[in-house]
Symmetry: C2
């Protein structure tokens, strides 16, 4: 079919994708084509800008390796990843049985590119950051369901960078995990462990996404945070962070991951006896946070 | 800043990109973020679908080589390239001086991935497809401006696949150009050359874009066509095709490049004396097409 004008062209493409046999793919392609063509028309995209976009996407693909995912970084810095996270959590909450949702579940945030499956299982109270740079911090709290009932045996998969914002995966030749662990809550739903107080850090800026971030005049930093995946059978898993209150960039996270309910005041302490009885020779911090899990949709 | 809900997240990202120092980049990023977030929200994109999109884009990048541009193929098969072509031509026409546009310029279409700069300069009437598979065809016509005045010395950069739809660039080990030439119109604005009558052909289907095209149930073919870049000083260059009328897939070009005004009836002839006096021992075709160029915007 011939295309007499740009709007007719869009209609022709939409007629074509409307024939996709899979109904969900049909919805995705229809909306994608609609938005893509609207974008091109509304900005009156020039051939030179179109070619710059082709080159940007190609360079982004070429920057991806088994250790670096530049398209996820692109999605993160456009707020797209966080949008997907928020929609997923809204869907999961909507599915909770009526009346059970006394308090909302803990808010989710982006997973980020540094998750590493299979962290070592550690006892509650362990120091998961032996030999890692940074100021010690004692993390503790409880996991409950949304009605406030403590949940025993909940799995917490924890990871962070070091006190200077560097993850083990970013260290050349570092084959072993650092500042990562899997722990399970006790009979009262309690968890505790020692690690470091995490620092803010920049996303990788030497690729195409870094050039885009610079182009909008945005700094490249994420505020200090520690990652958690919290999971229990029959409940909606949560991938989230605890953010360090007053960390630089807490108001302007480059990947839009901050949610007020995830910001925790880390309390400073001088040397002495810590809450778990450990004798600390240096100053340290404590951070307390309680997680809440929603029931999963019945299948 | 914290994101209490998906719509506020979009507003926060828009506030951020609104700070881009370059005004055009600001417009592009603002519209891109708006459309991208609308897409995600309207389809309620799941984390699994988001990851499939990340993997699709990464594979598309990995498929690009110095001989293959999978992102251009993606743009082509989504109708995005043709949209950009049509907008560019509309802009160029809008810029023509009042009253000069007696007849519109020849319609443009996609350049496609097989343009090769520096084709050999040939005399009018030459056979540019010596040794190339396919049925001979004699191409001729005139180049005029939009008021109908013949234009002498206009450059025509011509290329096509062979009679089975294969371009020189696709042939393993083929280092020399085939079925390509640059010619210039004579004093009366006339051009003529011999080549072959081009066949329909499929786009490369062994990459991620091929999987997408299959997913919508679309065939992978382009109808038979020969490419022209027509250029003259003081005029708007045109990149276009002549399409073979009644070619298979003329109604459903996979890259949406067909425009009615570019479809030409190829006339069949038995062996004998051709219009240019050449004695043909085999049947051949003739194709006549006149190009019209718009004046360029004064700078």
């Amino acid at each position: 079919m011939s295309q007499p004008d740009p709007l007719q062209l869009t209609r022709t493409v939409l007629e074509r994708v409307a024939k996709a046999p899979d109904p969900r793919f049909r919805v995705l392609m229809t909306t994608l084509v609609t938005k893509l063509h609207e974008f091109i028309r509304e900005v009156d995209l020039t051939p030179e800008e179109w070619m710059a976009a082709i080159e940007f996407l190609t360079a982004t693909g070429k920057t991806c390796t088994d250790k670096r995912q530049e398209f996820i970084l692109l999605s993160d810095t456009l707020g797209a990843s966080m949008q997907v996270v928020m929609l997923a959590q809204a869907r999961a909450s909507a599915a909770a049985p009526d009346g059970m949702q006394a308090t909302p579940a803990t808010e989710a945030t982006v997973q980020g590119p540094y998750y590493w499956e299979g962290a070592p299982e550690r006892e509650l109270g362990s120091n998961i950051a032996e030999g890692v740079r940074g100021e010690p911090a004692y993390y503790h709290g409880r996991v409950t369901d949304v009605s406030g009932q403590p949940m025993a045996g909940v799995l917490l998969d924890v990871w962070s960078g070091d006190g200077e914002g560097v993850y083990d995966m970013q260290i050349e030749g570092q084959a072993e995990m650092l500042a990562r662990a899997r722990l399970r809550t006790d009979a009262e739903g309690r968890y505790s462990f020692w690690s470091i107080r995490p620092s803010y850090y920049p996303i990788p800026m030497d690729g195409p996404v870094g050039r885009m971030v610079s182009g909008i005049g945005q700094h490249p930093n994420r505020p200090g945070h520690i990652h958690f995946k919290v999971s229990a059978p029959g409940h909606v898993d949560i991938t989230t962070h605890i953010f360090v209150a007053n960390s630089p960039y807490i108001e302007s996270d480059v990947v839009y991951g901050v949610r007020d309910s995830l910001i925790v005041e880390f309390q400073p302490h001088g040397p002495g006896r810590a809450p778990d009885g450990r004798e600390m020779k240096t100053p340290y911090w404590t951070a307390e946070y309680d997680f809440r899990l929603s029931p999963a949709r019945a299948t």
